[in-house]
């Protein structure tokens, strides 16, 4: 089989906060067009992994390769120009900016007015709530709506690789469903996604492959369906005996 080269490769990536070694040399591969999830309990090091990729936390050792290029420690604003976009934990919408200004900031790196207007319309079609409230400040949105805004805003950058940090966090079940549907739709549109989740069941159901992280290390990896059936995963993350 002649696989295309992977889009993202983490090679023995280690990230620390001073003495605290939060990510202890992990290997992760995300192929072009794949939807891969990284699951694990609180404090496992999932967010720190993304911070290492995006250059928001210094990498202790190891490398991050994106589209064949070594991007280890590169500033996040440069990565966006290369199509690597992250939706941070807690959404990170600009509460004092309007919905439309938030979406406009997503397209900060672009200057193709027509294309931006088109994408804006598409995102408003996907999330009609956002269109209704486009002149309101984002701080007035509900948690779920803010998550939609955060994903929509990331899409405005026309990403090739999207890093999503717990998009379902703190949302009601119906909203969680909607978020996962959205993630799937984005993936189907051809965007490669690395999804971080605590909701392991849903994450594995939408993903093709998965990684399980525990105290800074990858303890399991493989086909998402296989992981769903794995007794260790079921016991630890799916609440089954």
């Amino acid at each position: 089989m002649d696989d295309p080269p992977p889009l993202l490769v983490l090679d023995k990536l280690a990230v620390a906060y001073g003495e605290i070694r939060a990510v202890k040399g992990i290997d992760v591969v995300v192929g072009k067009g794949e939807l891969v999830c990284l699951i694990g309990a609180n404090g496992a090091g999932k967010t720190t992994t993304l911070k290492g990729i995006c250059g928001t936390q210094p990498v202790r050792s190891g490398t991050v390769r994106y589209d064949g290029e070594d991007i280890t420690g590169m500033a996040s604003f440069r990565l966006v120009r290369k199509g690597l976009v992250m939706v941070p934990e807690g959404r990170g919408v600009f509460g004092g900016l309007t919905i439309e200004e938030n979406l406009g900031m997503g397209a900060y790196i672009r200057s193709d007015r027509a294309g931006i207007a088109e994408d804006l319309a598409r995102i408003y079609d996907l999330f009609p709530r956002l269109r209704e409230r486009r002149r309101q400040t984002a701080g007035t949105l509900s948690g779920g709506e803010q998550q939609m805004l955060a994903i929509g805003r990331a899409m405005m950058a026309r990403p090739r690789l999207l890093l999503l940090d717990e998009p379902s966090m703190g949302l009601a079940p119906l909203m969680v469903q909607k978020v996962f549907e959205t993630v799937l739709a984005v993936a189907k549109s051809g965007v490669t996604i690395l999804l971080i989740e605590q909701n392991a069941k849903l994450a594995l159901e939408v993903s093709s492959r998965g990684y399980v992280m525990e105290s800074g290390e990858i303890t399991l990896e493989g086909d998402a369906r296989a992981l769903l059936r794995d007794p260790k995963v079921r016991a630890a993350y799916l609440g089954a005996a």
């Binding site: 995006c54 604003f77 990170g92 900016l97 200004e101 900060y108 984002a138 950058a157």
Partner: protein, 332 residues
């Protein structure tokens, strides 16, 4: 009533200068939570550069308006460069340092800039060459009523234009939205592809450009420039920014105008209000002195500067977040 109208005009003029300078403080505070105490010195440098240019051109036969325009256009890039360098060289390396470090640095920079100006322009007050002949227009029907001068009109119009331009920039352009986004959350702004270092540097430069124009306005208004002029002016503009709510642009404008008016009215009335001759009935000694000087007062208009700081103290005591406060949604 005439004193009132006259002081209102004077106060608005001065207040719009304060507003322009206060905007510089508030923009920088909004984006990096730093009080750039050297900002007053940037105003001074603007006044000084314009002084030099006007002096050089005064002998030419250029029209007065052209001379002042050229002087302003020279002052703006010089001040923007100074503002940019302050950020790049002094504040940026301290961005993650404890808050006291950049604060002390700011005070140090202010002293350095004053001394540089002292070396370049000497310690003497420099009289602005009167290229523009002051013309007064009567605001009332009777001859000795309140007036407004052409310089005052120019200052009011220029300030209004600059404030409008700045608001359009901040609220209607991509750069402006990026500045507000960076002010709210620097790391998320980075995730949007915004080069926050560049946006912060631009913010300093814009504030300094406004300060340059303010410097030319103050110099032309008082007809003098001095290497220490930025200190009190800076403190007053800072008070204005705090009065309006530091970090809030509309607040800076409101605070500046209010402070100018409070100061002018205070200066206009403090003599009357503290006139000791009203007490002549009770104190014979005062009555005697009032025969020679009926305006004998406890405080004269030279107490003008006190008002700004009384206002600052009152705000800090009664409403530390300022008139327009810090809107909570901005910080979410």
């Amino acid at each position: 009533m005439d004193i009132f109208l006259q002081q209102l005009v004077n106060g608005l003029t001065l207040g719009s200068v304060y507003a322009i300078v206060a905007l510089g403080y508030t923009m920088v505070y909004g984006i990096v939570q730093l009080i750039n105490f050297a900002h007053g010195e940037v105003v001074m440098i603007g006044a000084m550069v314009a002084y030099t240019v006007i002096s050089m051109l005064a002998a030419t036969h250029l029209p007065p308006l052209a001379i002042v325009t050229i002087a302003t256009l020279a002052a703006i890039p010089v001040c923007m460069t100074v503002g940019y360098l302050l950020e790049r060289v002094a504040y940026r390396p301290l961005r993650r340092a404890p808050r006291l470090a950049p604060l002390i640095t700011a005070i140090g920079l202010s002293i350095i800039l004053q001394n540089l100006a002292l070396l370049i322009w000497s310690r003497a007050p420099l009289p602005y060459p009167q290229v523009i002949t002051t013309v007064s227009y009567s605001l009332t029907s009777h001859p000795n009523g309140a007036t407004i001068t052409n310089v005052q009109v120019a200052i009011l119009v220029m300030s209004a234009l600059m404030m409008t331009g700045l608001m359009l920039l901040i609220y209607r352009t991509k750069l402006g939205v990026a500045m507000r986004a960076t002010a709210q959350n620097q790391s998320v702004a980075g995730l949007m592809g915004i080069d926050i270092n560049r946006v912060i540097a631009i913010t300093f430069a814009i504030g300094a450009g406004l300060a340059a124009v303010a410097g030319v306005m103050v110099g032309s208004y008082y007809g003098v420039a001095h290497y220490q002029m930025g200190f009190i002016l800076g403190l007053k503009a800072f008070s204005a920014a705090v009065l309006g709510g530091i970090g809030n642009m509309a607040g800076a404008m409101l605070g500046g105008l209010l402070l100018g008016i409070i100061e002018a009215l205070g200066a206009g009335y403090v003599g009357d209000l503290t006139n000791l001759c009203q007490l002549s009935h009770w104190f014979g000694a005062i009555a005697e002195r009032c025969q020679t000087n009926p305006n004998l007062a406890l405080f004269g208009s030279n107490y003008q500067d006190v008002f700004a700081f009384l206002v600052l103290i009152a705000v800090l005591v009664f409403r530390p977040s300022g008139l327009l406060g810090e809107r909570v949604a901005d910080r979410a």
